[in-house]
Symmetry: C2
Subunit: 355 residues, 2 copies
């Protein structure tokens, strides 16, 4: 992959906060940024040189976009396969590659892929009907989670099954092909942010410890309370995934940390990730700049952690605490410029730089 | 001054790299940014929500701009007095105030103002003709610098007078009302970046040591090689200037450091400053965010330095070294997105984070 020089244009699918922070990182390196989003007045558009507002299946708009940018990336994994195909047909360089996006879009394919690489996941079964759910339940056991195979995020599209009775009518409630996942009795949740460049070089940030609330990340702390062997396992898993996907860019794996320190992979995000926001001030190179470096064919940046750090998400009404956050001497406030505050909506985050 | 909440709009006069980095800092706090510049396709416009491209004396455009933003600030001190007047008439809140801009625009007014506050400057005399230059020279002595009173920057509009013979025809060469400044035999150049909020609170960054080349800043290092009493003097001078101007925002004073540690003030910049670029990664709050906080009526951020740091300007062809800079593990690369490389043009900078 040839190296893009400063002044070239980075295309980003998606107009949310991840696109916004990617855009700012790209601009710092001297790139122009063009956003493609179906949302008018999006957070990313307001910090970018140019924006296409169109449907993700609008072939004419996508073709025009592809011709005006030098590489296309995405801030979300649920890019329709057809979108990627139109972009590739129009001659766009797309990173990460569509296969990586496709695998991460389907929870069954994702877990099967991980297992193929020898990476443990929770027990799971694909369920496409109530009968399949009923059949799978004894094997998976309770408690279990019934999730949609596709298009779930931040805990949406999930039904908790604590007893076999909870499974009655659950498939109908889910309303889409699903996956039944066994509960694995984990101690904590952790994630790793990793990157791979076009020439196969890899880089890993320190493992993050994450606290979720209502299915949404609420807090990330570094250093994570993990042993060295767990940190090594996370890097090995990420390395295997990056290599197997011939991946270019930043990729995140979320894990369950089991008693004793073993890791069970929960999810791959083929993109920058909320649990990596701490890298903006807490690491030598932010995950956003790292992703831009990778997709532009640049060398990866140093991932050294600069200090201990805590990242708190500002969700919904939390963002009204901006004054208190702004007054805290070791807190760095990030607000995403979203016009409407809604429950469960990620409005910003605060990074506290510790000792 | 009332506090602007996130979602409000910050107006910035000027489309260069300082406006670009101010805009990015404002966006991080959740503000929208509107740029007013006479340059099409400017570096700042490409990272901002909205841009007016018009002459700085275009009353209709300025009035429209003033009505669409919640506060107006500037990235350069040479804002025409008439521009500020039009903005104020249109009801804009302007920070820093026009008096501060006016004083910094005229080297004679600036030095007289500093002397009034008891802050030492080089010997100087206003010269409006060759006869006045000839009359002033014996008093000021040689070597001396003949500078335009107004509109000089980065060493432009300056004539070095090493011997009385150099003064012959010098006024004609200068071609504008000037100031003759005595040479003060300094050891080094240093600067202080300071901020004042609307309620009168002040904050100071560590004194920076600066190396110029051909009249243009080439390198800033922290910590500066200065004694504690010099650091104190710099803060006292900045504090006096901020207070006397009822200043709101970030202000910079450049000093000559004399043998023994005394400071002689060279120049006030009523704005964020090239010698403060290190604060982006090197301080808890960057000078850009600090300025936005001040003009938005927010509390000032912590100015704590996070590490030793060196900032290198990439001037003209220097920017072609971007690959080498991008490969350095402790270097953070910033490129301003300028389309044309010209000798003496600031194209970017690199910040090295040291021990």
């Amino acid at each position: 992959m040839s190296q893009l020089s400063p002044g070239k244009t980075i295309g980003i699918l998606g107009g949310g906060q991840l696109g916004r922070m990617l855009s700012q990182a790209a601009a710092q390196l001297g790139f122009d940024v063009c956003i493609f989003t179906d949302e008018p007045d999006s957070p990313a558009a307001r910090v970018s040189a140019r924006t296409f507002v169109a449907n993700y299946l609008d072939a004419a708009a996508l073709t025009d976009f592809a011709r005006r940018v030098d590489v296309v990336t995405t801030e979300f994994e649920n890019v329709p396969a057809q979108t990627a195909e139109i972009l590739l047909t129009a001659g766009a360089r797309v990173a990460p590659n569509p296969r990586a996006l496709a695998i991460a879009q389907d929870r069954v394919d994702e877990k099967s892929f991980l297992n193929t690489l020898g990476i443990a996941t929770p027990r799971f079964a694909a369920v496409s009907s109530q009968a399949e759910l009923d059949a799978a339940l004894p094997e998976i056991g309770t408690p279990a989670l019934l999730k949609t195979r596709r298009l779930g995020y931040d805990g949406r599209g999930q039904i908790r099954i604590n007893t076999p009775q909870d499974a009655n009518d659950a498939y109908e409630k889910l309303g889409a092909p699903g996956i039944l996942e066994g509960w694995c009795g984990f101690e904590r949740e952790v994630s790793i942010i990793a990157a791979r460049s076009a020439n196969g070089a890899t880089a890993f940030y320190d493992v993050c410890e994450n606290v979720h609330s209502g299915g949404i990340l609420s807090r990330t702390i570094l250093p994570a309370r993990v042993e060295a062997h767990t940190e090594r396992s996370a890097r090995e898993a990420a390395s295997a995934v990056l290599g197997a996907l011939d991946y270019v860019g930043v990729l995140t794996i979320e894990f369950f940390l089991m008693p004793g320190g073993a890791l069970v992979a929960n999810e791959i995000a083929p993109r920058v990730h909320n649990s990596g926001h701490w890298t903006i001030e807490g690491a030598m190179t932010s995950q956003f700049e790292q992703h831009v470096r990778a997709i532009a064919g640049w060398p990866l940046g140093a991932t050294t952690r600069r200090c201990d750090v805590e990242m708190i998400n500002l969700i919904g009404e939390d963002a009204q605490s901006w004054e208190a956050c702004a007054a805290e001497s070791n807190a760095r406030l990030h607000l995403y410029g979203k016009r409407d505050t809604r429950a469960g909506r990620k409005m910003g985050h605060v990074t506290r730089l510790l000792a």
